[in-house]
């Protein structure tokens, strides 16, 4: 898999992928167990804070304000990181980010890197780009390790191997670990404790010898140049502390104005994400610490920050869709989504699955290919995702907005240029039906005649529509036709004498 085809048409449209997934009983059982567990725990963690709604409103406003002045805050961030001994690079798209990182790694003379789980580098397909340049990239997050060993794709933002159960993981560790380093013990069982121990031993030798690490970041503070990574296992601390060179690839929307702003997100993110009051480890570092001398000699001596656009500025240009850029990648929306729970993450054909993926991927990549054109429909619009979102992204609103764009076409920004997209194929019949409906609804006489005709012929109603309507009835039952239309019933009742 190369960077450019990640989530591109190689994946089937959502309805096809989902149809397969919902018939996979093991997958459905794994997902149901995992999402229900975390759902209840999250609700309890959130209920502990009386001011949750106020924190949510503050988080939303901080992000909106930052996005409104994103140019200013990125420049401030760059100045602060540079003053603290770091180097800032700017990448317009995935290819440029991969080129920058590959060049930086090659310049160190090293041929392997350890990686902290990062959505941004998954989005750019960095591992594949590094591999093509002869550099081995080792994922160190337990779930990412499971995905990498299984030549698999991540299916959840926080727990990328959520689709695998303990038995599958044990088999994978036994058969694959030895090919990449220290093998798993012969008699490895399927207790999560044993599996975690096997991962600890397997990765330890890599951490201790690593000279270069690649990470993402949860937040970047503009005023101080401070980078923030939240994690649980300690693999993040290993990668961020031990190597000589640290390269962080971060989406431009991850900047926040002030250090104080973290007081909101450090309360809302862990509770939304892992349902904890606080995640086990959070690391904050500022450049190489040489600016003020306070952190000098502690941690990497070279720090590179790669600021990634890759469709984010295009998303920012959409007045409705831009709220998706507030996302802090907590994954609460995945855990509550009835569609995600049944279809799983792979069906979304993107590194961003679930409700947030359904609004983010089509905006970052455009709705030109079949998978992205179907993603806005991968939802029942029940609104549970909006309810739990710690930065109040109105996902149903964006979904409807994107559906409109898919069906009707219209102005969008692609690679910084304002263009008009044409209506997607496959929606011609829907548009024709809508035109016919408008015609009919404008003419009450014709509507009444049509309704009476339908009522009389109601026994002949087919189970499925013929011709272009067939696709519509693939997933929906045709409604029953009543014996009498409402308009006729109303007219008759009104004429009847009052009792």
């Amino acid at each position: 898999m190369t960077g450019t085809d990640l989530g591109m048409p190689a994946f089937p449209p959502f309805p096809e992928a989902a149809r397969e997934a919902v018939h996979d009983e093991v997958l459905r059982a794994n997902l149901r167990h995992a999402t229900h567990t975390i759902r209840d725990k999250r609700a309890r963690a959130v209920a502990e804070l009386d001011d949750w709604d106020r924190l949510r409103a503050a988080g939303k406003a901080i992000k909106d304000h930052t996005l409104r002045h994103l140019d200013r805050y990125l420049l401030q961030l760059e100045a602060a990181v540079t003053a603290a001994g770091g180097t800032v690079h700017w990448a317009v798209d995935a290819d440029e980010a991969n080129r920058i990182v590959t060049g930086l790694v090659l310049a160190t003379g090293e041929r392997e890197v350890v990686k902290v789980k990062s959505m941004a580098t998954q989005e750019t397909g960095l591992n594949e780009a590094l591999e093509a340049a002869g550099i081995a990239a080792y994922e160190t997050d337990l779930a990412e390790l499971i995905v990498q060993l299984g030549h698999d794709r991540p299916s959840h933002i926080l727990v990328p191997a959520i689709h695998r159960n303990r038995g599958e993981i044990r088999d994978l560790f036994r058969s694959e670990m030895g090919r990449w380093g220290r093998p798993a013990p012969e008699d490895l069982g399927d207790d999560p404790r044993e599996l975690a121990e096997a991962a600890r031993l397997h990765l330890r030798e890599k951490f201790l010898r690593a000279k270069v690490a690649v990470s993402g970041a949860n937040f970047m503070v503009a005023e101080t140049g401070t980078m923030v990574v939240l994690e649980s296992e300690g693999n993040g601390r290993m990668c961020l502390t031990l190597p000589e060179t640290l390269i962080s690839v971060v989406g431009i929307e991850k900047v926040v104005p002030t250090f104080r702003d973290l007081e909101v997100f450090l309360q809302t993110l862990p509770r939304s994400s892992t349902a904890e009051r606080m995640n086990p480890y959070t690391t904050m570092w500022t450049g190489t610490g040489t600016g003020t001398g306070t952190g000098e000699g502690d941690g990497p001596t070279a720090f590179h920050l790669v600021l990634l656009d890759n469709g984010r500025t295009d998303t920012l240009a959409d007045e409705v869709g831009r709220q998706a850029l507030r996302c802090i990648r907590c994954s609460a929306c995945l855990n509550v989504c009835p569609v995600y729970e049944r279809a799983g993450g792979h069906a979304y054909g993107s590194v961003y699955p679930g409700p947030i993926g359904a609004v983010l991927s089509p905006q970052l990549r455009g709705t030109a290919n079949p998978i992205d054109a179907t993603l806005p429909y991968a939802s029942t619009l029940c609104g549970a995702c909006y309810e739990v979102c710690p930065v109040a992204i109105d996902i149903p609103e964006i979904l409807v907005h994107l559906r409109e764009r898919v069906v009707q076409g219209g102005p969008v920004t692609r690679e910084g240029v304002r263009v008009r997209i044409r209506p997607a194929h496959g929606h011609t019949a829907e548009r024709a039906a809508m035109r016919a409906a408008r015609l009919l609804l404008d003419r009450p006489g014709a509507l009444r005649a049509g309704e009476r005709l339908l009522s009389r012929a109601r026994r002949l109603r087919p189970q499925r529509l013929p011709g272009p309507g067939r696709a519509w009835t693939d997933t929906r039952a045709l409604p029953d036709v009543p014996a009498e239309s409402f308009r006729d019933w109303w007219a008759r009742e009104r004429k009847a004498p009052q009792k």
Binding site: I38, H65, H69, L75, I169, T241, I252, E263, T294
Partner: protein, 206 residues
């Protein structure tokens, strides 16, 4: 046009609309607590996340630390750790030198540090690389971390209060319980890469 200029000009064309005032009416603390209640809450929340909490005063500290370290042959010591803390401890004291490799530190079983502060509401201790804490790697590689919190002075109620007291230019490590993962069926398992055993000593420093 450089990529930087291209991204900035795209942002300038795209960003529009209202600029919201950030409402700061959320709570600075979630309850009014006496110092003792604050320390109790910290202890309860640390225990919740499987850290082991001990309480002592200055006189009892050396012996408590000696007991906690008794299973280890060596212990890492930050440069500014008060010498009397380890006055009764048996293990060999190892110092983190500029040329100590991670592999060498991996042979040390334990580490004893102070901290910058602790947060009661979340059960968190924060290290900022101060003299009694040392570089970040010494609290990462050993499998056992003993962290001494001076109470009640170093304990704050909440995350907002913690950030007010911290210096962002220092390397900061927030620790809430020992290393953990929920990556296998979202089942929490303590102990992956960081220290698997976290002992927190609440040192009465009144």
């Amino acid at each position: 046009m450089s990529s930087k200029d291209r991204i900035l000009s795209r942002i300038r064309r795209a960003a529009s609309g209202p600029d919201p005032e950030v409402p700061r009416d959320y709570l600075r603390v979630h309850a009014v607590r006496t110092p003792a209640e604050r320390v109790d809450l910290l202890a309860a929340h640390l225990t919740d996340y499987r850290a082991t909490v001990h309480r002592t005063d200055g006189d009892g500290l050396p012996e408590l630390l000696a007991r906690l370290l008794s299973r280890h042959e060596s212990v890492l010591v930050p440069p500014g750790l008060p010498p009397y803390w380890l006055s009764a401890a048996g293990p060999a004291r190892i110092h983190d030198r500029a040329d100590s490799t991670p592999a060498a530190l991996d042979r040390v079983g334990s580490v004893v540090t102070g901290c910058a502060l602790a947060v009661a509401e979340t059960g968190t201790i924060v290290l900022d690389g101060g003299p009694d804490q040392g570089r970040r790697r010494i609290t990462l590689i050993p499998d056992h971390h003993v962290c001494v919190v001076r109470v009640p002075g170093q304990v704050v109620d909440s995350v907002p209060q913690a950030l007010e007291r911290l210096d962002p230019t220092r390397p900061l490590t927030w620790i809430s319980g020992p290393s953990a993962t929920s990556d296998i069926e979202l089942d929490r398992v303590e102990g992956v890469h960081g220290p698997r055993v976290l002992d927190v000593v609440l040192l009465d420093a009144q």
